[in-house]
């Protein structure tokens, strides 16, 4: 009796299995691709690389300078707790813009700006790029009275007469705004206490050798001890990124290059996967460049998010806007690790786009896992500038790069074809002409990055 019941149960289960199997096989034949074997790993972005870091964070300043009077200048590196408390994901800028009355004061003299920095208390937002103020405000959900001003800095002076100064680009001139009396609450941020670990900053000299430095360019005052940064290959599988570009990976033909990189192509579009895991995609198409930097960043970020994701601490490394038909605008993203930018010779994530769409994309992400080797002293900003000045003929030829407008310590990821190896610290130096270079922070050996 018991055996008969077991036999009945076995037959029922076998029948259920055969029915389920017939359904699965029918599904495979109809759809062509079995649901359990799609031929590639499904795209699964890492949890620590969220899909959208938010435009307010991507457009955030690289550093916020806190001027507390005399030579007490502090730098809040992007991503630090003090920085986040001041920036509030962009809310502070929105509040500042709302506080301005829209009435321009008379053009401030250089002495007035210097006073805002030396007497304080004031906050100075140093952006990585110069943005059209109205676009920046719109991206953060605010309104700006000025529509035609491109700015790269904002100083919020919390004195008896609260004032907001914007530095225009590329002329590096200042404009000032009075503040509505009822909207001065945000200015209290300039008087907030800081953590003990916040680094001191100092203004760079007006010139070092033949290099001119724009007034108000600050860099860390003390020479830090820095080690190499150990990294791993991009944990996001290249197949996963590829699957976001091509509907069917199985009809892609491959070319294995002599350096080990593999090109995948469907005949119209191509993607190259480097041995170290970097992915490069291209679909040439003629169009007009995207002239608005903020719009270009927004579009590039959206594209990067859809094709592998952006790191949570993504930041804008460089934006190059094309000037004529046929050129693309290029947005290079970097990201921050413990506040220090990680940048790439061609960007960590780089998107070239025009009004027709995205022409080229590069993802050369490396996952930092900690310091490597011994901590060593790096060149001071002044020493690094002196070294660059000594190489200026080789770096710039006869063409003047303009004034130094920013200088910060970063880690540099090499070319996509380079192997995964510890990253070197570099001084990233930007010039008013748009030229940019990196100098080895240990030796001062400098390399041009790109020119506008």
């Amino acid at each position: 009796m018991r055996n008969a019941a077991i036999w009945d149960l076995t037959q029922d289960r076998a029948l259920a299995f055969l029915v389920a199997l017939s359904l699965l096989l029918t599904l495979r034949i109809w759809l062509g691709i079995p649901v359990w074997d799609a031929g590639f790993e499904p795209f699964n972005p890492r949890t620590d690389l969220p899909a959208d870091p938010g435009l307010g964070n991507i457009l955030a300043p690289g550093v916020i300078l806190v001027h507390q009077g005399r030579d007490a200048h502090y730098g809040l590196p992007n991503g630090s707790e003090d920085f986040n408390a001041v920036w509030q994901g962009g809310k502070t800028l929105v509040q500042i813009l709302a506080a301005t009355s829209g009435v321009r004061k008379e053009a401030p003299q250089a002495a007035e700006i210097a006073q805002a920095r030396t007497e304080g208390p004031s906050l100075e937002f140093v952006f990585d790029e110069a943005y059209r103020l109205s676009s920046l405000a719109k991206a953060l959900g605010a309104e700006a009275e000025e529509a035609d001003v491109t700015v790269d800095r904002l100083i919020m002076l919390a004195s008896k007469t609260p004032t907001v100064y914007f530095r225009t680009s590329p002329k590096l001139e200042y404009i000032a705004y009075t503040v509505k009396p009822e909207a001065t609450e945000v200015f209290g941020l300039a008087k907030k206490g800081l953590s003990a670990s916040v680094p001191r900053y100092a203004e760079l000299p007006k010139s070092v050798g033949e290099l001119e430095v724009a007034p108000g360019t600050y860099a860390p005052r003390d020479t830090p001890q820095v080690a190499l940064l150990n990294v791993q290959a991009d944990p996001t599988p290249a197949d996963g990124v590829l699957s976001t570009f091509f509907v069917d990976l199985q009809i892609l033909r491959t070319i294995v290059e002599r350096d080990g990189a593999t090109i995948y192509s469907d005949g119209k579009r191509g993607a190259r996967v480097y041995p170290a895991g970097a992915v490069e995609y291209g679909q040439p198409q003629l169009g007009d460049p995207e002239a608005n930097k903020v719009v270009a960043i927004e579009r590039a970020a959206r594209f990067a998010i859809q094709h592998g994701g952006l790191p949570a601490t993504a930041c804008v490394d460089k934006v190059i806007t094309g000037s004529k038909t046929g050129e693309s605008s290029r947005v290079q993203f970097g990201f921050r690790f413990s506040g220090t930018p990680i940048i790439g010779t061609r960007g960590i994530i780089s998107v070239s786009l025009n009004n027709k769409g995205v022409e080229a994309f590069l993802r050369n992400f490396r996952l930092p896992i900690g310091q490597s080797g011994q901590y060593r002293s790096v060149l001071t900003p002044r020493e690094a500038l002196a070294s660059i000045a000594g190489q200026s003929a080789k770096l710039f030829g006869e063409v003047s790069p303009g004034q130094v407008v920013s200088m910060e310590l970063a880690y540099l990821v090499g070319a996509p074809s380079d192997p995964v190896e510890p990253l070197k610290p570099v001084w990233k130096v930007e010039f008013s002409s748009g030229a940019s270079l990196v100098a080895d922070a240990y030796t001062g050996q400098a390399t041009r990055r790109s020119a506008q």
Binding site: Q11, G39, Q250, R253, T254, I255, V256, I263, K268
Partner: protein
């Protein structure tokens, strides 16, 4: 209802059904069926609308194929130059990352990084002269054959006379009987003698990846005549329709050649349609 009996019948039925479905899903997929005669007629009518007459039979069978993996040829560039120049000790005329040029008694061999080899012989008075297509072909075969440079899977593609005692002879590379259109040997004959040989050959390593169904020849035919509308003369004809693999010579370690439908027009033009995507890969290349 007698459930035990019904269950046995269902078990047997579903087992048979699953075996059939398993065979369809995972079994050999050389043929995916055939296009109907009305579809062939529709393609021919479309071609006629574009002013193109179809003289070649339109394949009805819809097949599935894989990519063909290729490696560069030749493996030994110097040895190939030595065979072409017929000498052991050669002079290096030029050398760079992109190319090497060897010379011997006025003859030159250029070997490019992408595997292309070009032979430019010095004029040899008194040598055998080609006077017609047949002797032109024989001249090239007699030159390359003994030097072991005419692959056993090479097939004569076409011979064209360009003037008195001037010919162009092209051999096509095949892989297991399937044309490899990107691979070829083209010999130019002027004044009855070989004046130039261009070798674009590959080392096939075998099929790779899963087999994928190809677009039917009828669809590819419609794509080809549609693309040629306005540029191909009305009244011209498609003389050949062939399925094969296409590849460019590449400076790479290994790559995939992809399946294409090749349509040969009476004016000498070839149109290649990608067998997987159905898009035009090359248009207007003429013999």
């Amino acid at each position: 209802m007698n459930w035990p009996r019904a269950r046995v019948i269902l078990l047997v039925s579903f087992m048979a059904l699953d075996i059939f479905l398993g065979y369809v899903a995972f079994g050999p997929k050389l043929a995916y069926g055939e296009v109907t005669s009305s579809e062939i007629q529709r393609a021919i009518t479309r071609a006629a609308t574009a002013g193109v007459i179809i003289q070649a039979p339109v394949p009805a069978q819809v097949t599935a194929v894989s990519f063909l993996t290729l490696e560069p040829w030749p493996a030994d560039r110097l040895a190939t130059a030595q065979k072409l120049l017929g000498a052991g000790r050669l002079t290096v005329v030029q050398e760079s990352r992109e190319l090497t040029v060897w010379g011997y008694e006025g003859s030159l061999v250029t070997s490019l990084a992408n595997g292309v080899v070009i032979y430019l012989p010095a004029e040899k008075p008194g040598a055998t002269r080609a006077t017609d297509s047949r002797s032109a072909r024989a001249l090239v075969e007699d030159f390359l054959g003994p030097r072991d440079l005419l692959p056993t899977d090479a097939r004569l593609d076409w011979v064209r006379q360009t003037g008195a005692e001037s010919f162009v002879v092209q051999f096509r590379q095949d892989y297991q009987g399937v044309p490899l259109f990107g691979g070829y040997i083209t010999a130019n004959i002027d004044k009855g003698q070989i004046s130039r040989i261009r070798l674009v050959l590959f080392s096939p390593k075998g099929l790779s990846g899963k087999k994928r169904a190809l677009v039917p020849a009828t669809d590819a035919l419609i794509t080809a005549v549609s693309a040629g509308e306005g540029t191909i003369e009305r009244g011209s004809a498609i003389e050949t329709i062939a399925l094969g693999y296409l590849s460019e010579p590449l400076d790479a370690r290994q790559w995939d050649a992809y399946p294409v439908w090749r349509f040969g027009f009476s004016n000498g033009a070839f149109v290649y349609v990608n067998g997987y995507s159905g898009v035009i890969e090359r248009f207007g290349e003429s013999r």
